[in-house]
Amino acid sequence: MRIEKTGEIATAALLISALSGFLLAYQYEVAEPFISATAIETVIPFGAFWRSVHFWSSQAFFLVLILHIWQCTGSMDRFCRHRKGRIHWTVVSLTLPLAMYALFTGYVLRFDGTGQAAGKIAEHLLLNVPIAGSMLDRMLMATSTEGLNRVYTVHILFTALCWGLGTWYHTRRVIVGRKIFLYTLTAVVITGVLIHAPIDLPGQNLHLIKGPWFFLGIQELLRHMAPITAGIIFPMIPLAIVALFPWLRKRSGIYSALAIWSSVYIIATVVTLAR
């Protein structure tokens, strides 16, 4: 698939995710997150459907974004011949951590067993960051003092920033063809109807919680390493590599580093899944 096409699909998926998210916000209550999420899932007409559409379009956006970035690394010389192009890459690469955090906070916001644990772990990890830890926590999480108010704010803010970076900054326009939008919408709706967005029942996972799929590797590493190493430094490695890609000279070394990192992460993920 061409680079432009994956970019278009990612934008379409983000648009569907944002629109379904706005719709869910009409019934979601940040003061009673689990009760309102359960009500949306079980009682409110079309609630389960819209949750699924939001869940799967967000997953699709994240995965297609990774694919799009991966494709772009192959054409690096075309994009980043000049300094301006390299700066553009580094700024646009911010969509990756922003998307990851928006996706992660989506799990926290449903506030079931997995969501509660994910929120508490994230808060403790942020507090473990030297010097800026407290400020990062106040800006991005602060669940222990503010409940889910800030998580909800950041969830919406980061989605909007992803949209702004991907359209206004990256392509200077919204490039989503009608066909691509309809294909993406159809794929998301069919997946949403067939597979419900997950939510844990109370007391379902008392002795073992498995976090969001992309967090499982970190969860395993946190069992064996210090929080700052496993939860902050290790996940920052690929994000930093992607952001600095055009500035680094030895491309083969970068691919090897990414391959080693991915292997470690996949093994850690499999170990958590097997628990």
Binding site: K120, I121, M139, T145, L222, R223, G231
Partner: protein, 129 residues
């Protein structure tokens, strides 16, 4: 880099810091919240316990003991295994004795305890969180 461009960049950095100041200043403060009182409206027989969302209250031989359910590793809510009389963290499997003493896992520290008082009518407890 010329002196002019250096001064321009420094001025931009100062302007950015000046813009960030009111934003960070607004976000950082934590509103004061007084300790919360959780009222338990029953007297527990000796040797029994009561599981609450934030703590487990034990009626021990030496008096009531409220052990926090917040794991000292990364803050997950620990579960209480009634048969083994142990706390288990569902996130990274740290384990603690019923009284909060650390046994194993990445937590390394004991679970904290909350202050427990007898309620004013003498028919229950007040736990200060």
């Amino acid at each position: 880099m010329t002196r002019r461009s250096l001064i321009k960049k420094m001025l931009m950095a100062i302007a950015a810091a000046l813009c960030a100041w009111p934003v960070i200043g607004f976000i950082m403060p934590v509103r004061y919240r007084p300790p919360r009182k959780v009222l338990i409206r029953e007297k527990l027989p000796k040797g029994s316990f009561l599981i609450e969302p934030e703590f487990v209250l034990f009626a021990s031989e030496t008096g009531p003991v409220a052990v926090s359910r917040t794991c000292t590793h990364l803050g997950c809510t620990v579960s209480f295994d009634e048969t083994r009389k142990q706390f288990i963290c569902p996130c990274h499997q740290s384990m603690f004795h019923w009284n909060g003493k650390y046994i194993s896992g990445p937590a390394q520290k004991d679970l904290p305890r909350f202050e427990v008082k007898t309620s004013e009518d003498g028919k229950g407890y007040v736990v200060l969180i």
